[in-house]
């Protein structure tokens, strides 16, 4: 028996009796399942309620203007897009755990960067503002002053979102995940160390 076998014996003889029983693991799984189901049900419920409200508004507010209809449709499509992307994210989380460690780290890095960028991207906000611009046209068009004032405010809002909020969020999210990305790079470097 060499000296490392002794180390191995020490390692394998560690106490593990207080590990959770199979019953408590099954309970934890049930709890997890319920929580996950609740999350999905809440998301779908929220989406359905928003959709129904929007459809009700479309029916109730009998507009003949195409801009109002386009605005309403953009809102509905945007809601669908956000719901589908959130559900896809929940599904993907499950699959990535089956990768080998090196691929997992690559995936983790790519995903974190993408998430930080997506959170910073003002595109969904800009689309919402465009939908709003189209939607409120009918209301604002009743008076020219109201129309100009309303649209100047909305244009300023778009400029602020694009040139101030967007870059600020990118910078904030980058600095937030930088430490994490550095750690991933550090581990990746460990895997590249070979026969030094």
């Amino acid at each position: 028996m060499d000296s490392f076998d002794e180390i191995r014996n020490i390692w394998q003889n560690q106490k593990t009796e207080s590990l959770p029983s199979i019953t408590s693991i099954n309970n934890a799984i049930k709890g997890y399942q319920t929580k996950r189901k609740r999350e999905i049900i809440f998301l779908v419920f929220l989406a359905v309620v928003c959709l129904l409200v929007m459809i009700w508004v479309m029916i109730d507010y009998e507009s003949n203007l195409i801009s109002t209809r386009i605005g309403e449709s953009i809102f509905i499509l945007l809601g669908f897009y956000l719901l589908v992307s959130k559900l896809n994210l929940l599904k993907k989380k499950k699959q990535e755990e089956l990768l080998n460690s090196t691929d997992y780290l690559d995936d983790l890095k790519e995903r974190s960067q993408k998430e930080a960028l997506n959170e910073s991207r003002p595109i969904p906000v800009i689309i919402s503002v465009i939908a709003l611009i189209l939607y409120v046209y009918e209301i604002l068009a009743t008076s020219q002053t109201l129309l100009y004032t309303g649209y100047i405010i909305l244009c300023i809002l778009v400029v602020l979102i694009w040139f101030v909020y967007g870059p600020f969020m990118i910078k904030r999210n980058q600095s937030k995940i930088q430490n994490f990305l550095d750690k991933i790079d550090n581990i990746k470097e460990q895997s590249n160390e070979k026969d030094k």
């Binding site: 390692w11 003889n13 959770p20 199979i22 693991i25 997890y32 699959q95 895997s191 026969d195």
Partner: protein, 158 residues
């Protein structure tokens, strides 16, 4: 293999693997539980072609690596680099603590590699779990073994 059998066969091994990475019993218990929730969730995707052990260890290793996200937010209190021999008598429990502290000083990937090796996982399987070449794993294991053995010798733990 059903979930209960997998849990019975691998829970202690996975716990020790998590312990080798975290050097914290409570966190290792939590991570073991998280690993088995993920095993249960993904069990239907397991293909009989691969070894169930390799598959479970792969999930556990990734769970361990995921901890760097938490570690980047929480400041760690570093362990003493050298542990004086006088601090320990030779009881088994103290040897466990000494070994865990020695492993805690290793870089993240080395902690996973040695954790798997100490569980008698063949080197080819470790390479498969970690995603490195067999040659790379062999070199790593050789170096870590040397380091740990030396530490044990220097501190009179044999």
């Amino acid at each position: 293999m059903d979930f209960d059998t997998i849990y019975k066969e691998f829970s202690a091994k996975i716990f020790r693997l998590c312990l080798s990475y975290l050097n914290d019993t409570d966190k290792a218990y939590d991570l073991t539980q998280e690993t088995f929730i993920a095993v249960w969730q993904n069990l239907h995707t397991f293909k009989q072609k691969s070894n169930i052990g390799t598959w479970v260890y792969r999930i556990a290793s990734n769970k361990c690596l995921r901890q760097i996200e938490t570690d980047s937010r929480v400041k760690k209190i570093s362990l003493p680099v050298q542990i004086e021999a006088a601090d320990f008598d030779n009881s088994l429990e103290q040897k466990h603590i000494f070994l865990r502290n020695c492993i805690a000083e290793l870089p993240e990937l080395d902690r996973i590699v040695i954790g798997l090796f100490l569980e008698d996982i063949p080197q080819e399987k470790i390479a498969e779990i970690v995603g490195l070449s067999h040659a790379n794993i062999r070199v790593k294991i050789h170096r870590i073994k040397e380091k740990l053995t030396q530490k044990f010798r220097d501190n009179g733990q044999f």
